[in-house]
Symmetry: D2
Amino acid sequence: MADAIQTGDVVLLLGPDGERHIVKATAETKRVEGLGVIRLVDLAGKPWGGTLALGPQSFRLVRPTLTDHLRLLERKAQIVLAKDASRIVLETGVHAGSRVVEAGVGSGSLTLVLAHAVAPTGRVYAYDLRPDHLDVGRRNLERADLAGVVEFAQGDVARDVRQEDVDAFVLDVPEPQAGVAAAWSALRSGGVFAAYSPIVAQVEGVVKELRARGFVDVRPLETLERGWVVHERGSRPETNMLAHTGFLTFARHP
Amino acid sequence: MADAIQTGDVVLLLGPDGERHIVKATAETKRVEGLGVIRLVDLAGKPWGGTLALGPQSFRLVRPTLTDHLRLLERKAQIVLAKDASRIVLETGVHAGSRVVEAGVGSGSLTLVLAHAVAPTGRVYAYDLRPDHLDVGRRNLERADLAGVVEFAQGDVARDVRQEDVDAFVLDVPEPQAGVAAAWSALRSGGVFAAYSPIVAQVEGVVKELRARGFVDVRPLETLERGWVVHERGSRPETNMLAHTGFLTFARHP
Amino acid sequence: MADAIQTGDVVLLLGPDGERHIVKATAETKRVEGLGVIRLVDLAGKPWGGTLALGPQSFRLVRPTLTDHLRLLERKAQIVLAKDASRIVLETGVHAGSRVVEAGVGSGSLTLVLAHAVAPTGRVYAYDLRPDHLDVGRRNLERADLAGVVEFAQGDVARDVRQEDVDAFVLDVPEPQAGVAAAWSALRSGGVFAAYSPIVAQVEGVVKELRARGFVDVRPLETLERGWVVHERGSRPETNMLAHTGFLTFARHP
Amino acid sequence: MADAIQTGDVVLLLGPDGERHIVKATAETKRVEGLGVIRLVDLAGKPWGGTLALGPQSFRLVRPTLTDHLRLLERKAQIVLAKDASRIVLETGVHAGSRVVEAGVGSGSLTLVLAHAVAPTGRVYAYDLRPDHLDVGRRNLERADLAGVVEFAQGDVARDVRQEDVDAFVLDVPEPQAGVAAAWSALRSGGVFAAYSPIVAQVEGVVKELRARGFVDVRPLETLERGWVVHERGSRPETNMLAHTGFLTFARHP
């Protein structure tokens, strides 16, 4: 509580109605979409949990968490959602210090979740064929102050991965089976492979290749999430839900 | 690969058929259930990824990951499963350095996942009313070499929590609404509340109390997981699945 | 195939793109929304499966099935969908000749499905408090040529049901527990009770009342449906689905 | 209520604990598994809803419904469950008087549901390659007093179906695509095709063939069912559920 915001800190402005913006405490004055002009220099020195008046509204100054960064992500491609990203983190077991190869950056949502898990001492090696995806991913990681643990590289997962002895190897690419040989070479003994794939044929392709290569504990699954509504007059599930995002396939390097 | 196992390291013995045992590289000779007598002193000095012959079987020596520890957990009470524990970690945003209060240790499965996420610099403050649950939880955390980041305490979440300014507050207790006031006092601004509750009435109780107290982003949900089978002749979902574990309720301290 | 459409028959006009309209072969000329003016007298005498040209389009003349009637229902209130209506028909076991009490007509979607199942020799006794719901229900049943097996009545299920020895008793009302006593009186031995209720508290209320009253096989459940997409490049579930409509509670009069 | 059981009627003996047996009121004395010897001649003349004492237990004499017959089915092959059979009946729109081809009788569970829907004036033409499946199916239909509306025939759906102008064509066979041409020939205009298939590749095969052949409204889906538990201390979904039975594919003959 006593802590004060420092220059360079990333700050979440949390409105009373749940409105939220992420800014960096710098020496600048900046136009923030939906907020107008804000003197970022005013942030430094204010206490965490304090407030900032902007026009008629008062915003609380809060340390952003992972879900704030995910919610405010700049989107280029379809993102990997919380229900799947969270499971990938748990099954791969990545945490502070882990080294992970990721191929298929997209908008960087999964890169962000992995970077958050391995920071500050780990490393995410993030590959994508498309420079525009790498640019969006890099910007999203910078806004979350996590770019320092990620090495972005333009490249094809089947040919260009140079890392060895990594703890996890995560694929979100159209042909995940093409990355299995690279995963076999890059993973340490006991390391975990994960693929995110929307189509059943992709699951079939990657499962067959994983088994052929010698991976163990090959396990495809899908995750579902259903929101609930709690009213005065009672509770019920929400009316709509996502029926499908991607299947997850996990495997273990023996 | 070049790394060698050190005395004190926790080692996973991974059999060719997926059989697995977790042991500690000590100076002792020990009887391991299902393995017979093993000279743990033989482990130190062997390379990670190397093998150890035990009777007719050869085991690979692997650094255990989070899921190994979860699978080999000593169980006293119903455990929180991967589908739910993973989501709690993502939504609370806990990572290296985070400080978390957890009430309702049970067998320590969620304690283990939280400790793994916040290690080595964070802290889990784990409360339970029952000494036997605390004992099982402590043993499980010690086996995973994560007891150092957990402070176990016998106590009632409604009265005994002393921490302030924590990043997350996680409840798996029969009356989660009784812990909401304590969560309000303990959480930092922007910190996240999470409750795991099997019964709809628990969800209703905690949601109402969270709203009354001033929490924002109050959001109950449930997660589901469905395994898939990939055969030569085609793919299909597995025949059986868990229909229910617990509902998850998340909220944010403003 | 040799059969010809008779005056008075209900005909589905099925367009090449799946467009569909239901009309009655009468002596009139009529404006049909989306089709323009159509001389219905032209339909009689044409063979079932033949075509009718309307402007630039050619429509096939087809005997409508239950799902055509459901799709083209005039809607006033929320309708009971195929996934739930179908299950109610199976669990109640209603078929040709069965006698059913239904309370809570709404738009008549469930009335239509029940009437279709019990026709031509059975009977649906359909109660609703609101005359406007009864009017919509009656119109929908007339369009499907099934009004002859339904007796609509304005009334309160708790007080106004006079039938005895019925095979099934189906409730879609805000307080299903209030109808349980009436169901007990109306059902034959071995007859089936069914309630459709969106809220968990409604399920709890009706289950408790059913047990107190002496019903057996009391069984609440929910049904889910997920569509699939089959493309050239592979298959996957559809992106969105309904997460919830209503819970179904079945019970048996001993 | 006043009705009495006649010789030849099928009677459900419903025990106080939900125990149930189906017998036929004949002149015989018969050994019923789990009940001992019962003089069936005693049933005729007793009122429906009356009781019969058998040893220490008293059984209520009840007209069986469809679900009783399904529950007491003699099983040879995997049966089609209520969640799927009910949907097939609704989507095909079969009811009294409908004519249906079914291929893949198995234990006759779906045959029974279809026969129940089309009785007394309709017809189910039930094909299977295996005589033993046809025998089990026939016995199950006889026990339900519905054998009169079913014509069983040993044969291959791709070659042996002779019916024309049928309202529905239902497949539960290993290669459903092989039956699509036969369905095209047999169905009336506006008639409905349905396939039940456990494997995704079967769905892909049948969908492609249906589209190639000219069927419209081709629609694959899966149904799920989750039971609920209502206790004094609250409600929750049951712990386990079926994750998968078969995918359903529906299509319409234009």
